[in-house]
Amino acid sequence: MGTTTTLTAPVAKTYDWLSALREQGLEKLATLSWPGPKTEHWLHTPISKALAELPELSAELNSETVAALGQIGGLDAIRLVFVDGRFQSDLSTGRSGYAGQLSILSQLETSAQEQLEHRLNTTFERALNKDQHIGAWQNLSLLSDGLVIRVAADSQIDKPIHVVLVATPNSRSEQQATRIICDLERGAKACLIEHQVVLPGGQGSFSNQLTEIELEEGAVLDHYRLGLEGQSAVSLSAAHCALGAHARYQGFTLALGGRCQRHDLVVHHLHGGSHCELKGLYLPCDTEHVDVHSCIEHRLPNCTSNEVFRGIMAGKSTAVFNGRIHIHQDAQKTLAELSNRNLLLSPDAEVYTKPELEIYADDVRCAHGATVAQIDELALYYMQSRGISRIDAELMLSFGFINELVEKIELEPLAQFLKPVLQSLFTRAAAAQENPS
């Protein structure tokens, strides 16, 4: 059995209608224990320890600092800022004109609250493995605010929705959680960017973010998750998607690592003909830890999944990748592919990768592969033989390893924003490699 970590109830209960939900969440959480090292889905991620050892820090961030966080140059988007789980209307821009499509949990009218209560409380229960997804229960127990995206049939939100999530050091003592609900009706389209930002000075923080997505027939969602919360952060995040017939979910996940960073990705193909595209990168450095668990449930025929994750581990960092594809008996003609490639930059870095295929249908095509490699000495030699120094060659090869995925990001300003972020990350990793402290 796992060890139990005591959770403090949220201090501030500003939004009354959520408090009943929080209590239900706490009750459910109380029946579970935080996973220890013997819980399969948390084998390599000591979450209990990380939660118990959240750094004791407290600092006020002024609004100017926060306003500057998470800016993506050239991105024409609806910008919604949440600080320590609470919506900041003065820092948010571009929401007017989308009132029917975007609403903030804490600002809902009573009738809308009632409608949503059941959804918040129960939808994510669908086939949730309680041990694995304990973070979702914690999210309910700490729920402070969130965003509801609703797009009516055959319409779209014409700009990306850029949700900037800031966790200050205060999040340590006053734990809050945010929820994003994204429901796209038949044929609707939207683009969602969840952007967990790093704080200046790399201060410690805690965050729990859960996104629940329902795509009806033919709906299309582009979903970017940027986990840039920084070295000292403890974070739990998850995206749970349910796909209707011919719906299309295109996800890109970036996890830069943190003190302990866990991301769960769950996709349910609930009707025929849906497609999901899961792409992602995890890039921990120093002593960071990152864990990505994905699970794709194929329940009905003719659905397709394509999952590509790459990781680069530097310093003494650890990464975990678990990619499960579950093909139920009725899910004939499924096409599912999973590729996970890992690059270890240092002899002290570790990765635990586990692709899992569980297939009960006989007429399906599935492929999965996982590789772990060090940087290719032959490629290094080739580059050096052209006059490129070893350190520059390592940087180019590391960047090249993930650049294929960055290049495929369709939202050009986002790709341009990420490139220098990733470059500086590898420069830091390479410098640490050259001059180990």
Partner: protein, 246 residues
């Protein structure tokens, strides 16, 4: 240009080069021929500075300066260029980035500013034309999915951009059909000049019909067992390498 004196080298305790002596003057083309396993490719790795080869005795100097204490990239910047028998594929790094990084490094070595991207692109495109390679190849990953001939032309392209003093062509003819061989040989011949020397490593005399050497050396068991002019290559085509062991 290049001076190799009494070179002995080993890899994993296996002695591969056994007392090699070779003097190459500026502008000269030397062919090195010999049977499989003679150590021909090893010699190219040792000159270019690949890790894992241990020089146990002797000396290699380029224009009077020892290469042995230099890393592979330093040797390249000093003017050594190895055209690989099997050029390495590097998906994710574009040909253009790769060549620009190499060109920048060479310029930095000479105390010059790197070319701006547009000027470099112009240079690379011009050189592409000379080796009959579609400039679209500049946008692709380094050698990624290139055919054998395209890879060799890409090697040639890098040589033209970096303008080395010493070029080693390691089995450049392998995997090429006659037409591709002609293109590559024409490219090499166009690069011959009084300040640039070549070592052409090959099994077959065929390549030497296109790239005519000044000297031919027969390599066996890690050293030169016979040297001569270009006519030696023709003779070897008749006699084979069987006589060496006698």
């Amino acid at each position: 240009m290049l001076s190799i004196k009494n070179l002995h080298a080993k890899i994993d305790d296996k002695q591969i080069i056994n007392g090699l002596n070779l003097e190459i003057g500026p502008g000269e083309v030397h062919a090195i021929m010999g049977p499989n396993g003679a150590g021909k490719s090893t010699l190219s790795y040792i000159i270019s500075g690949r890790d894992g080869y241990e020089v146990t005795a002797g000396e290699i100097a380029l224009q009077g300066e020892s290469l042995l204490d230099k890393e592979a990239d330093e040797r390249a910047r000093a003017g050594v260029f190895l055209a690989f028998q099997y050029p390495i594929e590097i998906p994710g790094v574009t040909n253009m980035e790769f060549m620009k990084a190499a060109h920048d490094a060479h310029r930095k070595e000479r105390g010059e500013q790197p070319l701006d991207s547009i000027s470099f692109m112009k240079l690379a495109r011009e050189k592409c034309k000379e080796v009959n390679l579609d400039p679209d190849f500049l946008k692709r990953g380094v050698n990624d999915g290139f055919s054998g001939g395209e890879k060799k032309r890409n090697e040639l392209l890098q040589m033209m951009i970096l303008e080395p003093k010493l070029v080693i062509l390691d089995e450049t003819d392998s995997g090429l059909d006659i037409d591709a061989l002609q293109v590559v040989a024409d490219g090499v011949n166009a690069q011959r000049n009084p300040d640039r020397s070549f070592i052409v490593i090959t099994h077959y005399q065929r390549l030497l019909d296109y790239i005519v050497p000044d000297y031919v050396h027969v390599f066996s068991k890690g050293r030169i067992v016979r040297s001569g002019g270009k006519e030696l290559a023709k003779e070897l085509e008749q006699t084979g390498y069987g006589w060496i062991s006698e």
